[in-house]
Subunit: 563 residues, 2 copies
Amino acid sequence: MTAESPAGEAHPWVERHRATLLQALETIRTRAYWSPHPEHPKAYGEGAAAEGLAAFEALRGTRFDLDQPGTDAWTGGEVSPYGVELGIEYPHPDPDVLLPAMRAAAPGWRAAGAELRAAVCVEILARISARTHEFAHAVMHTSGQAFMMALQAGGPHAQDRGLEAVAYAYREQTSTVAAADWSKPQGKREPLALAKTFTPVGRGVALLIGCNTFPTWNGYPGLFASLATGNPVLVKPHPRAVLPLALTVRVARETLAEAGFDPNLVALAAELPGEGLAKTLATRPEIRIVDYTGSTEFGDWLEANACQAKVYTEKAGVNTVVVDSTDDYPGMLANLAFSLSLYSGQMCTTPQNLLVPRDGITTESGPKSYDEVVADLAAAVDRLLGDDARANALLGALVNPDVKARVEAAPGLGEVALAAREIAHPDFPAAVVRTPVVVKLDGAKPDAQAAYLSEHFGPVSFAVAVDSPDAALDLLRRTIREHGVMTVGGYTTSPEVERALEEVCFDECAQLSLNLTGGVYVNQTAAFSDFHGSGGNPAANAALCDSAFVADRFRVVEVRRQA
Amino acid sequence: MTAESPAGEAHPWVERHRATLLQALETIRTRAYWSPHPEHPKAYGEGAAAEGLAAFEALRGTRFDLDQPGTDAWTGGEVSPYGVELGIEYPHPDPDVLLPAMRAAAPGWRAAGAELRAAVCVEILARISARTHEFAHAVMHTSGQAFMMALQAGGPHAQDRGLEAVAYAYREQTSTVAAADWSKPQGKREPLALAKTFTPVGRGVALLIGCNTFPTWNGYPGLFASLATGNPVLVKPHPRAVLPLALTVRVARETLAEAGFDPNLVALAAELPGEGLAKTLATRPEIRIVDYTGSTEFGDWLEANACQAKVYTEKAGVNTVVVDSTDDYPGMLANLAFSLSLYSGQMCTTPQNLLVPRDGITTESGPKSYDEVVADLAAAVDRLLGDDARANALLGALVNPDVKARVEAAPGLGEVALAAREIAHPDFPAAVVRTPVVVKLDGAKPDAQAAYLSEHFGPVSFAVAVDSPDAALDLLRRTIREHGVMTVGGYTTSPEVERALEEVCFDECAQLSLNLTGGVYVNQTAAFSDFHGSGGNPAANAALCDSAFVADRFRVVEVRRQA
């Protein structure tokens, strides 16, 4: 490890973050548990909670100046799903000014080399980590996540995913030596000899298109993968979730400048109401990489139209759980109830379709009919969310009116096994909080298929009656191939069914969680160990995080000289 | 390394090829010189030359049966650029039968694991290597390469590139452990524990679209990268260069079957005259990977239309050499003369535009005017090709009438500095052999720009007069950015110009060869050490070979279980 400043001395951040980077590199290989970012709110120090809240409050009603070139307007208008108007204005860019300024920042960043770039990225993440409480409020009041989830998923878990991307980027960039002497024997003649250098260079400006529900968690992998591989990154947040990424951009710009780099390596592009800025930016010739999380419709548009760029998308899926049999019926029900409830099902990984044989399942306490399974699951959700305080802490608020509309439309799709319940939030009366709705559908009926084979993002799930375990497997295969999934769950005590589930997931390329009955849920993945999505079915063309996610964000330029 | 057969014993090929694979893995990191495939024709044993020729001759006028499912017609019609009719018929596929059969072959290949897949691929390459002389005749009589070049570039160099792809594929697939125990501490409570497995799975059927000039060299990287990562590969050769890839498919099918795998993992798709089979196949839903070498027009079409697949393309470029100054004028001229002559300039890496200051250059023997440089280069080509036997051994035959037409049109583009000379081939009178044509153009004139800023594939080069070194660098930048290059050369004794050349190549992403005056040429790259193309400019979206070339041909499916 030899990154040096122009003066010839290694930058102190390289040494400061070496152990973290090495541990991250080790863990992406072993896939063991590890995180340098604490989950417990109290781990951030005595006054951290109060300071974080105060910092968040101080931002409200202000202009969020980032001192970027080419700011031609100010825009904002975020209203928290908890009802709070943020009143913050962000810079709107003139791409003809901002993008050239970002391009001009690239050569200095390229010259820094992979190791210093990694160290600067880890320093950015460390500074974000120190402000986890502030970010938690920003995530809560843009996504609608409950505070504790906003802190964990929007803080340490997002930072983990960012660090994971930095580690992959560093590993790939350093998998080729920086310089080599090449000497090819020529029999009795002198060997042919060349001196070669290999320099990782970024592709160009990267565009990150943020999402509403997980602005940091889904944003950090692309942001840090692009930045660590030498690309300037333009961050276009979802208009309802600007603040968490604006804070991120501010920290990144400050850190880059402090290390002697051009802060325009990271910039914000907030959009005017109804502008459709992402479309404009994504097809600019300067943009060579696009990361996107959101609707299938726009993801497909990006893949078809941003042809000048490498496009990494996470879109919609129809997540499925096959329920065949279990030897821990209460554990299965509790685990599923939690998965359906967490953040009101507003996760790209939340199960939507529970495939249950119409003849019922076997359990350690005897057979259970389809109706019993569905009723017992409904009861488990009721138990989990029976206490309003606990329900509010788990559910959070519905992120936007579209989700609310889907919850309200769900009873029209079939027989309601569990009705959504309205819950009041003691601190934020404007918050729209709903418990999950579960609808029974007959898997074989065409009109039911139309309902359950499209994504109903939010707390809407279907108990789909199927003819047999084989029918469940066939339906699973069709769902993955035609509609995509981010997650597949399975409950079975049969080795044959387990093996068949695996084979379907291998064939159709989907991540599988089997017999989860404890404190790990199908909709949660841990950085450094779990892959988020497979990148091989229609729900996403990339996985978080793997070599493929970083390896094509840079190219290696070889210079060879007569030796 | 633990690949096991169903019976629990490691396959003997794993052990047999372990040292080769390990050395390949080491060399793709160190980029030192290495090859397990000898270049010298005599290295293949006493009778190899005669046996190879006899094997080739025995194929002529036969039906090349591969025992593939879904063969609905036989097609052929290859005529050697040396005038020989091959008279071989190949199977034409019904994709509705062949593609499902190939898909059905995938699960067994997936279950073999990365190590056994690599060993089988290395065994295929070893068997091809043993038949290098036979392949040499096949490549010669489809590409028009002279015999020695066909043997080396179509044999060991192509096999090297295939092995390189196998090494990258193995490295990427094994960069994640196969299984992990994950345990997350929960304070005083029991840790959360999961058992996880990670299985590399192929994306689906891969399509290799071969080219006319280097059927094996340009075909093997994609073929072996896809196969080693678990994908069945359908090989669609260029209709004028079927035999080298048909032989490859035959060896692959025999080897796969011998190892107990379904031979339909590799199949041939020869096309009927004018059928346009590549378009039909490339957009089939079963095809998830496409590798292509050829025209920019069809490469762009594939990138825009084969949206269901990952598409790796090598297209046309306008390769450029900046001539600023040299301290070895004769060495520079000799090196350039060879580069322009080798295989009649029919390499994607042959320099086309030589940018020379109109005020001339400095050399160790004093200043040379633009006219002197061009005249001296023309004389160097004449010297190199003055002897007809040597010329035939270097030039080979023009691959098709389009190249001949370009050679004949070149004098109309500007002042001819070196005219193409017709050379008779003593053994093959029908061969069309031409020495290179060099045309002088004024870099600043718009009509000249129209000529030199498009690719003239074949032995056509331009001595482009530019105002200054800076003008040369500007033109180089514009050429790379707008038209793409596979190679850039530079001759300079100025550290400033050298640094500026590097920066242009870093900015625009191009591979740079500096001051080559000996036996290495700008149009040659060595596997395991040199990258072929950068994948970052319009000439190609991929480089041979790097992580990005293999990492997205497979996905990792994780199965996690409650521990």
